[in-house]
Symmetry: C2
Subunit: 597 residues, 2 copies
């Protein structure tokens, strides 16, 4: 069975040394979480993940969720107990608004807690994960009455939330959705239609389930401009705020999926279910986007989380599995064979995962800190700058880190050879679980299109220009920094590729939109890889400072140096490939008739 | 449910136009299979694949194989009938020796039949696939008595075969194996031990199962030099050659695997089972290598086969699924949305699969023709030249085409969005099935090591030099060929990268073997990608000739041109990345202590 150890120290390094946590102290919530408090919280979160979530991960995969004859769902053995431990620890309330019972701590801190529990058990973590997204949407768009009814119970994890967007004929293109809402005399709506792929749509972990549902009000315009967002509780809260009448929303079936079997992915049938409008009429997509942007960062975290746990297990196996001898001479003469970690090709897999994991986590922390600034700072210039970069990078984080999460799971599985393909080692579960993150919350191709079509040209390219300036300034400032000498030229080459690619889009994409589409995926990767290279430079700089101050072991800083050098030498060259593909344009993609495929 | 259509015309194009089938007519077997016979055979094979194998593929995944209380195995519903159709069609005998009831037709032709049935149903095709490999090993190494007993029944598909190498503590490193063989008075041996991951180890498709088993004879040296190969039938043939006494080999359990559920992957227990030595004592690995080389090409075909069927289904879905509008303006104004094939990023996925599939198939045909030359030609120089290239390319085909097979399955699944993740569309099965091909018959990292450690330096690099010469001559010969003008410069650049990388190995790998290991995977990819580029050049040349002679439609040749151009512009630039990684050497890979991972 796989194991998991939450990387508490790595997170502390990022918070304290790389991103200077104390410099955020004036933002609401940060003052309540100085580094010693952060460490205590992360240590507790690690226990929750390691002791409660991880032990039931494989059981969840094997048992899956069962639909009972009465339409109720039984989650896998042990899920309820683990969820109750999560609820008892008030983990969901950590970043939530104190007005509704939240602790108001930084979202960045909550994100790292989420990394831990998702590494330990992705399927189980999705139940509270969806609640967090729903809380975000309700918090921004619902009126105070609805907030007062729903938020305290959701923030306490007593009730859970869902997102209902997809219908059988539409996922990406929500303008096609058919679910209808009919206004009732009391101001509520009767919702009717079918939704599919609803994660956590029905289960036995909470006493109520709060569905956020996109539907079209009778008479509303067709397309995306006629969609509204509704809150539709499974049980309608009574006057005391407790679950009351059963609402007209029922489970159709549970999907049979490749992975995340422990999470009930449901077909939900709405049959005149009572719902209340959230936000403005016909502006539902707008309201849902709040939820989706939160969710996209959450999915990026899922990618990271699966990569991390897969790596940990592959590293352990590579140290223990004895097979063959080192090419450079026997390394373990007392054993029947050397551990396979002596082989360069095994290390190629491990180093690749490792380099991505550390850079990916830094990238996520960097982004979440911007999210905290956006939501908590009163300095408008700071908010705008943070919002620009957060908006630009959200699709990149989602697309790139979930691709990497899957690739790492596959690579880690490969380290196990045939044992990786059979269920008992648990490695193939990581592959199947990680796969969904590339698809939901907007397939990664859609993220790439969002990036080049919307985020990149927004405000005249202000966000990407700010990024160029930030990295460019770093390169100039550290031109003479000895410790970074071997890292900065490759970073600079990556940045050059990115700038050339950006220029190419400016020149070629306006006149011919297919050029934007044809290079979008490569551009997403290019931006993500340059950013992760920048993260490595920041990490080495901070690690060297830590070492100089005697706050770490020589081995620790050496591992940082080596992994950074690996990233620059073996991974950063990919940026040239991305640029070459972008510059090759759309011609060969678009030439063939659809029927010729 | 997915569909499948066997690409008969594409195979005919390769045989006839690209590789000049008639030029092989003097080799035994080829004269019996002129193009019209080939076409008839492939057309029948297509029917078998489409009508018998494909319809039970998804059932096979859902039902899996069941171990009964008596240790017997029931294969999924419909597998027996499909296998019987295969047996009745005498498909297994197609390339086998006429001495033992085979038809003696070209292995190249049999390979294409295998592509079809594997695309249709990989798990089912593995049963006869393993028999084919076992037949090859028996044919080369067993004495005439054993051949006479086993080959006719195996070639008729009445009995099946298996390969028993792996034990719980050893897969790659067979020198560690513990299964023992004790010589008996009658010259047979008593085999005792446990083998794992035995594909088709026990099942209900045939009346006997012939296990080829690696074991160590009492008193034999330790390590790889003390391993012998034995034939161990499930039922010992009686005097009439029919299944007689039940032998001491039994099913321990069936592994729970990520995919290929329809194939029983077994733990086999040998408890004094009677076996007969095949080949020389202590030379069992050598004998097994014959089987493994056959099997590696077969696994390369599996990679191709999954890529092809995944592509076909993704292309159909992309033409039918309506979602969003084209960036360059509405394409289907009469529909609620455009089919997603209008989007460049969907085409990026489809074109990548397509470009790899056609080049991969050409690469395989090229290799199998060399195999036919090796086994059938009496011209020693021709045999040596073919054997050199076949030996060099076997690990490349296995490693690169199975990686591509998996990647294509993942990409095809992505085209389906959320529908790709649920079972009913069948796309996630292709991903799970394709995954094993990267692992078994030597994990792909082992293929890469075999390439740079053994095949590349063999005979002073004679094979790779011959390949350089072949491609170089082609480039020179066609320097003025107008139709190839845009394809040859990228091919030449790829070749330059390959030559540089080869030179780098010569200079750096001898002194420091870890340099070979660290660049091995990239070198395997580099060689594979240059070869596939060369295949594209050959295909375009042949397609243009066909068009000039009026033997094809303009659309068909245009698709070839476009796909070739796509390969050169979007895929061939990967060769520079592979070279850059190789030249970065092993330092960052090997620097860290094992404990630091």
């Amino acid at each position: 069975m796989p194991s998991y150890q939450a990387p508490v120290d790595e997170v502390l390094f990022l918070f304290n040394d790389v991103f200077n946590w104390s410099s955020y102290a004036e933002l609401p919530g940060f003052a309540d979480a100085p580094m010693d408090v952060v460490e205590a919280i992360l240590t507790e979160a690690a226990k929750l993940a390691e002791d409660q979530f991880q032990p039931v991960n494989m059981i969840g995969d094997r048992e899956g969720c069962v639909r009972n004859a009465d339409g109720s769902v039984t989650t896998p053995k042990g899920f309820k107990a683990a969820y109750d431990a999560f609820k008892a620890g008030e983990w969901l309330s950590l970043p939530a608004s104190p007005t509704y019972g939240g602790q108001g701590l930084p979202a960045t801190l909550a994100a790292m807690v989420n990394e831990f529990i998702q590494s330990a058990n992705m399927a189980l973590s999705m139940y509270p994960g969806l609640t967090q997204s729903a809380v975000a949407a309700i918090n921004v768009h619902a009126n105070d009455d609805l907030k007062a009814i729903y938020l305290p119970k959701m923030i306490s994890a007593e009730w859970s939330g869902t997102m209902n967007l997809t219908e059988p004929h539409c996922g990406t293109d929500l303008g096609l959705l058919k679910t209808k809402a009919v206004r009732k005399a009391d101001g509520s709506f009767a919702i009717t239609g079918q939704k599919i792929f609803i994660s956590a749509g029905e289960h036995d972990l909470t006493s109520n389930i709060i569905h956020l549902v996109l539907a079209r009000i009778e008479g509303a315009p067709s397309g995306t401009k006629g969609i509204s967002l509704f809150i539709v509780p499974k049980f309608i809260p009574d006057a005391a705020g407790n679950p009351g009448l059963r609402n007209g929303v029922t489970l159709g079936s549970i999907e049979h999926k490749m992975g995340i079997h422990g999470n009930a992915t449901c077909v939900m049938n709405y049959d005149g279910a009572t719902g209340w409008l959230i936000g403005e009429e016909n502006r539902g997509l707008n309201a849902m986007f709040v939820m989706m942007n939160e969710a996209r960062l959450g999915v990026a975290l899922q990618g990271l989380s699966q990569s991390v746990v897969a790596y940990q297990n592959a590293a352990i196996y590579a140290r223990e599995r004895l097979q063959g001898r080192s090419l450079s001479g026997v390394k373990a003469p007392d054993k029947v064979a050397d551990p396979i970690i002596v082989h360069p090709d095994i290390r190629r897999l491990l180093m690749t995962m490792r380099a991505y994991n550390e850079a990916g986590r830094a990238f996520i922390v960097w982004a979440y800190l911007k999210s905290d600034v956006v939501h908590r700072s009163s300095d408008k210039a700071c908010v705008q700058a943070a919002d620009d970069l957060l908006g630009l990078m959200t699709p990149v984080l989602k697309g790139v880190l979930t691709d990497i999460g899957f690739q790492s799971a596959v690579d880690a599985q490969q380290v196990f050879g045939g044992h990786g393909y059979v269920g008992e080692w648990g490695m193939e579960q990581f592959v199947r679980d990680a796969r969904i993150a590339m698809i939901y919350e907007g397939a990664n191709g859609i993220q790439a299109l969002d990036l080049v079509g919307r985020k990149l040209p927004k405000d005249g390219g202000r966000a990407i220009m700010a990024f160029f300036k930030e990295v460019g300034t770093f390169l100039k400032t550290h031109a003479e920094t000895k410790e970074l000498a071997s890292l900065l030229p490759p970073l600079n080459e990556g940045l050059q590729c990115l700038q050339k690619a950006t220029g190419w889009f400016m020149q070629n994409a306006m006149a011919k939109p297919d050029n934007a589409g044809s290079g979008s995926y490569d551009y997403m990767n290019l931006l993500g890889h340059v950013t992760m290279g920048y993260m490595w430079a920041l990490m080495v700089q901070a690690a060297e400072a830590r070492f100089a101050e005697g706050r770490c072991e020589a081995d620790w800083v050496a591992a940082k140096r080596t992994t950074a050098a690996f990233y620059m030498q073996k991974i950063m060259p990919q940026t040239k490939l991305y640029l070459a593909r972008i510059e090759a344009g759309s011609e060969t993609l678009m030439a063939m008739d659809a029927d010729a495929f």
